[in-house]
Symmetry: C2
Subunit: 188 residues, 2 copies
DNA sequence: CGGGGGATGTCAGGTACTGACATCACAATA
DNA sequence: TATTGTGATGTCAGTACCTGACATCCCCCG
């Protein structure tokens, strides 16, 4: 695994996650990550804006996917329907990477700087989904509320899915979480 | 204004805000801030964990205040009543520092790293207020929802208060925002 | 076979942040 | 008054993050 082998970005992401999962985020240096990926520190910073971003490139891809799905949903679908359908598509794509998701979750949950980045990524994602809904003709504040609800559902379902003791499919958990939100909000 | 003069922490906060407001956050070095406060870089890092934190020490004080107010409210007061009362107390304390608040807001709104920090501070604040509510006997999910609603109210009111063209009192804006949330949630 | 371009490496440097130790002002107390 | 302790600050050295400038390498296209 060295220079000129394909998928440099992916190699860096993998190496970073492995090292963060082992020694922790702070203890790991970018030089170490790059070395493990057969590259140099300078190349790391060509692919990722900073040391944290390497864990969130996947989140950017997720955002693109969700926005596309929301945008492309049939016009007959309700706002929350379009959002949850998009989330389920994403969930099925992630299904094969549960272990990866668990490692990533652990790394983030044990480090403050990573949690900061996670929060702003989710906030950005909510904004992007709200914009996609508005492009479908959904008015405010419905668009923003629906997007925020979608994020909340995703967070809850993701927590459950990455929980060791839970063996259900991610997409199922999305659907369940939506159901619970429905019940909760229907209550008085 | 130099070594051994009182209020080193305050001097650093003031110097930092002035420099961030002028040249922007990224362009300002910690050495510059320290120099302007008549101190050294090393001392800056004794008071603040990192370069961003100097803008958020006030937020920590705010959190302490809000939690104390919620905890100390008469037991007859409803959850949302306790939270908004606390927010109004905070608002009155901030009332004299509108210009300061505006500068701070501008600095944060023009920088991503600072927005990250802001988000995690607000999230932490919501958790702390939810805990204070639970200590009053409020059950979940009411406690968390009320705390989140309180933060939302605070954010909206703060935006309005720091808006140049708005001359209303901060505490009044808090009260108004709560009213709007009431109407919004009563709809349908 | 000879560019040309994109990916990577090398190097130098700035800035954030930290640990270890020295120094200073002040206060308590002998 | 002299001493000594204590907390705040300074000094210094070092590591790691991150960036700009330029060199080098591989591969594709003509």
């Amino acid at each position: 695994m060295s220079r000129w082998e394909p998928n440099a970005k992916g190699r860096l992401e993998r190496a970073a996650l492995e090292l963060y999962a082992n020694g922790g985020f702070e203890q790991t240096t970018v030089a170490e990550i790059a070395k493990r990926a057969g590259l140099t520190e300078r190349t790391f910073f060509r692919y990722f804006g900073d040391k944290r971003e390497v864990l969130f490139a996947g989140a950017d891809r997720l955002q693109t996917l969700l926005v596309d799905e929301v945008t492309g949903a049939p016009s007959s679908v309700t706002p929350i329907g379009a959002v949850t359908a998009a989330l389920e598509v994403a969930a099925r794509l992630l299904q094969d990477n549960r272990e990866f998701a668990q490692q990533r979750r652990n790394a983030i949950s044990t480090n403050n700087e990573l949690q900061e980045r996670e929060l702003i990524k989710l906030a950005t994602l909510a904004l992007a989904m709200a914009a996609a809904l508005r492009a479908r003709g959904v008015k405010e504040p419905t668009a923003s509320l629906t997007a925020e609800a979608g994020i909340a559902i995703f967070k809850v379902a993701f927590e459950r899915w990455t929980d060791e003791s839970n063996e259900q499919e991610f997409a199922t958990l999305i659907r369940d979480s939506l159901g619970e939100l429905r019940v909760l909000t229907a209550d008085q």
